[in-house]
Symmetry: C2
Subunit: 301 residues, 2 copies
């Protein structure tokens, strides 16, 4: 079954301690799509400018990603410039040029509308709600957000969250959204806003899911030599949603496996610049890494 | 089999967002001993002043902790005053009065000398080496250290590490000791200094062990409502060493279980001020929490 994703598509210029690359394919919808496409077909909704390179479009299309939903607007593609240093846990934004992304309003193509697995990437909560309204029979709406929206558009975000079953959010941001420092309390508070399942992303430390009154933890993969952490969270979300769509159902078991597949995709993604690694890895590499994730917590190997 | 610990014994005054307590029983050897004593008898070596309360001595003695090795020196007991705020990951030290601890030189009582399981708490690496020289047939020397010794006494610390099989260290401190940001590289570099097994403590995120070419991960326990994080690392080390001593041998299996028991003890300790919780919990509470730690990472419950 297809996954639908709405989010940003960008040209990223990134500096890390290991190097510097300009105008790479970037954006939350891009990383998400390439990660999800290892498991399921993907329908992507976003906007680019007239300068968006053909080679980038081709890369998406070659990976069972339907790009009918990418609008091409007059003007330039969204550009982001950032830098990582030290343990690379957080990017320092050097420059943001929203360009065509500034006036983005998601339009869902007719043949996307009965998508069952919908991921609302980190965009304005009002646009996220507009997507929800255009979808007919979703099995699961998952949503990502960030401090900017929590800070400035909380009422709108809470309105949108009422329609969402799964929230995927950074640790700092769930603290901000809930006003609670303790993670258990933060999750309980967020559940009252709508999502019954909550995934807290903790960067290199892994991620934590609360579902059906119990926790599930997937650590970060300690062997990854981090080259460029850009898109780690979106690769996680893509692997998660792609794997869930492939399984076809939401159970505690499929959610737990999806957490591991998400972590697998993120662990590959961060070992090189840009999202290309996501398109290169084979199914057997994914399965092998899945087993390594299990071995990390196994009492007996 | 007994565990031997050498470390600080202090009177702690601690402020956290939930309250303030003065002159509580504190110090690395204290938290370690009370946690280890749930699993094995403990021999403790340290120093206190003439003002050290009898009730604190009695608490240790009532918990199968042999305090023959605690010297009583003229003067006052080591005092530490600290404050935690926000997510309480790090203490802000408000005041340190070393008092009798300043001239501490560990003397190992004769009946401690054939201890098999030896934990060298976070003290001057030269004193740690002096302890090693007094022990006759240890099965395992484990060592903790901190930025202060890494910064100021690196050559001495490296000399001591040559005799140590297990290093238990904070994430920031292993980065400092190794000069490597990546955890895999940091551990590989530290193994060349002596310890074949390395445990990296990550505060609320849990801990990570590298042993026999593979990783083992234990997450933090998300349900703990943190009241006072003081002694979390020492409770972890105590639960770890106590459980290892109880098992009587060092294998991948006993080390992994010890990691979980260490995490169990830390998860209890942080839910109240001071180390008293460690003395109160029952064996069945420990086993129940052990199972909850396993459930955190289990695909099927």
């Amino acid at each position: 079954m297809s996954v639908l994703v709405v989010g940003s598509i960008a040209l990223d210029s990134v500096t890390t301690p290991t190097g510097q690359h300009n105008e790479m394919l970037g954006g939350s919808a891009t990383y998400f799509s390439l990660a999800a496409s290892r498991f399921s077909p993907v329908n992507v909704v976003g906007v680019v400018g007239e300068d968006f390179p053909e080679t980038y479009k081709n890369l998406l299309m070659k990976n069972q990603i339907d790009i009918t939903g990418i609008q091409i607007s007059k003007g330039k593609t969204f550009r982001w410039k950032g830098e990582y240093s030290g343990s690379m846990n957080e990017a320092r934004t050097l420059d943001t040029q929203l360009n065509v992304f500034q006036n983005f309003s998601p339009v869902i193509p007719r043949h996307y509308r009965n998508s069952k697995w919908v991921f609302l990437g980190n965009i304005h909560p009002e646009l996220q709600l507009r997507v929800i309204e255009q979808i007919e029979n979703a099995k699961l709406f998952a949503l990502d957000t960030m401090n900017f929206w929590i800070d400035g558009y909380l009422q709108m975000l809470r309105k949108t969250l009422k329609h969402v079953q799964l929230l995927i959010i950074n640790e700092n941001e769930i603290r901000m959204l809930s006003g609670e420092i303790n993670i258990t309390r933060a999750v309980t508070s967020v559940q009252k806003m709508g999502p019954s399942t909550v995934i807290v992303k903790r960067g290199e430390y892994g991620s934590l899911m609360y579902h059906d009154k119990s926790w599930f933890y997937v650590p970060g993969y300690p062997e990854s030599l981090v080259v460029d952490p850009t898109g780690a969270g979106d690769s996680f979300a893509g692997g998660f949603m792609g794997s869930l769509a492939r399984s076809g159902k939401v159970t505690t078991g499929t959610l737990k496996k999806a957490m591991i597949y998400g972590s697998v995709m993120a662990s590959f993604n961060i070992t090189s610049f840009g999202p290309w690694k996501l398109a290169e890895i084979t199914g057997s590499e994914v399965e092998q890494r899945f087993k390594l994730f299990r071995a990390l917590v196994a009492l007996r190997v």
